[in-house]
Each structure stands twice: as C-alpha cells, then as structure tokens.
Symmetry: C2
Subunit: 356 residues, 2 copies
Amino acid sequence: MNKQYWSSRIRDVEPYVPGEQPKDRRYVKLNTNENPYPPSPKVLAAIEAADKDALRLYPDPDCAALRETLAEANGLTPEQVFVGNGSDEILAFCYLAFMDDETPAIFPDITYSFYPVYAAFFGNNVRIVPVREDFTVPMDQLMQDDGTVVLTNPNAPTGIAVGLDVIGELCEKNPNHVVIVDEAYVDFGARSAVPLIEKYENLLVVQTCSKSRSLAGMRIGFAFGNESLIAALNTVKNSVNSYTLDRLALAAAKAAVEDQDYTHDTCMRIANSRETTTGKLRELGFTVLPSSANFIFASHKTVYAGVIFKKLREKGVLVRYFNKPRIDNFLRITIGTPEEMDTLVAAIQEILEEEA
Amino acid sequence: MNKQYWSSRIRDVEPYVPGEQPKDRRYVKLNTNENPYPPSPKVLAAIEAADKDALRLYPDPDCAALRETLAEANGLTPEQVFVGNGSDEILAFCYLAFMDDETPAIFPDITYSFYPVYAAFFGNNVRIVPVREDFTVPMDQLMQDDGTVVLTNPNAPTGIAVGLDVIGELCEKNPNHVVIVDEAYVDFGARSAVPLIEKYENLLVVQTCSKSRSLAGMRIGFAFGNESLIAALNTVKNSVNSYTLDRLALAAAKAAVEDQDYTHDTCMRIANSRETTTGKLRELGFTVLPSSANFIFASHKTVYAGVIFKKLREKGVLVRYFNKPRIDNFLRITIGTPEEMDTLVAAIQEILEEEA
C-alpha cells in the first residue's frame, strides 16, 4: 500500500480486528458475543412507530429524551448521562477526554483488545498490568493513582467479575484519576457500579445496548458519571461529530431501556445456558473460567484451542480464538440459545473423539 | 465547571455548535440546511423491509453492500469508497488520516465552521485563507502544496461553487498533499469532482445523505478517492469504532443511493425555489450571493441581519445567523418548500416595514 498521503499518526498503527461477520454460509454464530434472542417487541414497535418523514431532520444532538429515560432508570440526573455510537465510540472518546501525555491508560494485559489500539492510535502511554495465572486482576497494581484506569467488569475475554467493594476501592485509591468501568457484560451476572457514582466523582461507568439488550446492530452505548466527566465527553463529541446516534437508534434505545423485564428475562436465560454449557464442557475435560458474562473462556486439557477453533468452523460453528500470548490455548464461546449450545457441545465431542 | 479530570487536549477547546433543534414550539425551520421533502418512499420501504430480529447482530463493519452500490453509482470500485456516520465523522477522520505536525489544514476563513474546530481539537496547525470581498475563494492561495486543502464546494455558508477545472488545478498544484472536496451540497447545482478521482490520486470527495437525500436523521456520509486514501480512512475507523453505521442506516442509505430519480427531482424543486426566493429577496433590497446549494446567504441594505434573525424567530421562522467577523450582517436561509419560502418572505416584508 502506498502511504504517501498518510499522517504520521496512522502509518504504523495496527487497527482493531472485529470478530468475523461471515457471509459465505450460515453458521452457529458464537464468536462476537451477540445476544441469541431478538430485541424486545417494544423496541421493534418503537422503530415501527417512529416518524419516518422526520428522518429528513437532524436528530436531537443532545439526545435529551434518551438521556432522561436512562437517568430515571438509574437514579441519576440527565447531566450524569452520556450516549454514544456504541460503547466503542464512548471508550475512544474517553481516551481523548481523560488521557494525555501526563496521564497514561492503565489496564490488564488480558482484557478487551481495543484498549491498546486506542492508546496507540491517540498516542497515549500505557501501563499494562499482567493478570495472575488464574486470570484474576491484581487490583493493588491498579491502585497507584498514576493514570486513567480502564477495567472491564466482568472482564473480557475471561468473564471474571469483581464486586463493588473492589470498584469502590479503585476509586478511592485513584483520587486524581478517572476510573473507567466498562460494563458491557454486567447484566449477565455482575453488579453495576452505577450506584457508586454519587460517592466517587472520578468513576465513569460505560454500558451498551449491544449485548444484554440485543441491539448490536443499532450502535448504542451509554456512560454514567459525575457531571464534569459527562461534560468532558460532550466536549469531545461536539469537537468530532455532533450527531452520532440516528433517530431510529434513539427510539430503539429508549424502548430497550424502558423494557427492563425483557432484558432481565433474556439475560437470565443466557446465564442459565452458560451454567449448563460450562458443566458439560468441564465434563469433556475443559477448564472453564468462572464467567459472569454472556460468554465463557475455555481451554481443553489435551486438544489445542487453535485446532478446536478450526474444526468447529468446518462444522459450521464459529467461536472466537485469540492467537495471543497467554490465551492462545483458550476459546471464547458466546452463549447462544440452548439449541445452539447443544450443537456446539456435540461438535466439540466429535472433535475430541477425532483428535483422541 | 470542575475540569480536574479533563485531558489537556480538551481543557480549552471550543466545540462546534450545531444549529438549533428547537423543542419549545413549531417553527418554519430554515436553519440547518435540512431537506423540506421526506426521504424517498423506497428508503422508507427498505427500513420497513429490514430484518428487525437481525438487529441483535452487529452490522457489517465493512459496509460491503452499501459500498458496492455507491461504487456502481459512481463508476468506481468498492475499494475507492468509504462510508461513515455522516460527513462530519468522515471529515474528523480526515484530520486524523491526512494531517499531522508537518501537514497543516488549509481552508478559507469563511467556510464550514467545523473545520477549525477539528484542527484545534486534533492539534493540527492551520493556514486560513481569507475569501475576497465578494466571498469567492482566492484559489491561488490554496495551490501552494503546503498542507491538506479542505474546500467545500459549493462553499458554506455562501453557496458559491467552483467548476471542475478549478478542482483539477487544485489537485495538480498540490501533488504532495490531499485535496478534500466537501460536496455536502453538490447535488443542488454544482458538479461533483468524483469523475476526477481516476486522474488525481490526492483527491478525496466527501458527500452525505443528509441534504439532497433527505436523511439528516440517519447519519450517513460517503467518501470517494484513491484506494490508498480510502485505506487510510479505514485505518482510522478501525482504530476508533469498527461499526459506525447501524443496520437500518445501511439499508436506508443503499435505497437512497439507488433512487437517483427521487434525489434529482427533489433537488430540482429546491433549486427552483432557491431562484424564486432569491429574486424576491433581491426585490426587497437584499444582496443574495449566487448559490448552488440548498440555502442562500443574504444581507439587507439597511436592516441589520441580527435584527432580522431575532424578529424572524419571534414570528416562528428559524434561519441561521453567525455572529462572526465579515458575515455578521448575513443570514443563511435554508430553502424549504415553496409555501415555507412564501411564509419567510412575508415575515421579512413585515420586519422591513416595522424597521423602516
């Protein structure tokens, strides 16, 4: 590629690689942590009911109606709420808002693989904290008040969650820095840190409609925090793109947040499938980390993860495999419907027999 | 505002201020260059027909179907096409992709007011070229091959367009730098530079669905250029947010691009209203710059623009007023339906009588 016209910033950058969205055939798709259940019927009704002629008009740049709904649902004020084009966009904005030459990003080595990409792209220094052998995060190393902490809770791709006591301590021990808690997967079995926002002005909680609310296809993320942190995110947004959510996404998001029962029910079904699948995989000789998310992270005692990944793909089952140090013998398996998980387990059984 | 946790980048930044999206009452809304006609019926049908259960799945991060449609419509390959969340996002990406410490942004003083915001935010140097007294751009000053040129054609808020000969010369005289032509308003009466892409590898043309395709509410922008320029934009996108267009926006955009007849018809109606309104305002004592866009830029010989702006608002007509040097005696008036323009002209007549 001729890079003659490329800025110095992007010449050597290695972008994030999203999980495959296959077009060649139908797969049992357990590779990108999507929800196996459709969005709430109330979401579909809200999209249906939206004024389509009004699509000629810009959306509300302040997203006021959605922010009010989110504020009410979370016991906050609208000034404590930010919305963006998926939590990925919000996290990118966080790097611009809360990190600079003197404020590095601090995160574990095993976590969402977009974090180091943002840092490299925006030119932020990083301090990377290796997780322990059991994949838990040594929290004391995130408590040195030397940069902006980014913690996924439950963590990805491990699924391991920490309690609110830990989040509170992180905020207390980093009084001069922001603590970003990425709660993309929180609804599947962990506790949200949103109630701690009143207590800690340095706490920013990021959530998404992509997982628990079955709306990955609509690109909606939220952030909750002290008014000053939210104002910082608005400053970034209004320096980049004033309108990042379209009118249908705004309508869908509002309905999704309002239908908490549907979210709760589908999350419970997924959590149940997770536990069932975990049990079955352990019986087949897998180590499965204790997950509070809508995926599990699993390693077989004898068959290499890369082999299982490849053979599953041949059998029409997609899972995620990270060919990276420390986790290259693990598979990240999204929890689908019970039927999809039966297909997965049967396919794995076949593979283990073939490889025996 | 307590900015304790804000990065150095954003502490002093002055964000872009979008045109007002009023909620207090119904206005004749001629302030944000929206299209007065609804989106094509085929766009609404495409949104209706989209698989809503599939909203649980991520959209195609490569936007392949839309890019193929755009390539076909423009005589390009999909590798010469980029799509983003409105042209604002694409322009922001351009600053990251094609400008750095050694490559400033070069643009006129009177142009889209987001350009200096991007530059300030991303830390780019700028060279600002004052337009002439008649608001035309002294093109020779954009031909010094000393930075990335950003030219809106037709220009905003003046509406003045240049021909393809000028764009071609800009590309030739800046062989070592990218020439970005922002064609947000091109369909209302100017010629697109897309056919020049085969000839000039440094030409990037940016367009949008927000104006001529009546889809401001869906956040869709396009960029066309040499494969290397498009690859640079993809590198930025995949370092920030892999999925910036949701599934319904992708479906809407594809249908909008395909229905060229509808776009052409509504643009012609707007161009006709523009000429009629221009004539009427000139009769009332306005100087109206020659516009090729869906707005006009007008100044009255005796009544100050700020006064007309305020009184129009009281009468329920919103136009845009920029309280900035050189243009503080001008109004930017979006072209609405013929009925809306009649209301505008009648309201202005009243104001001129009141102020006489």
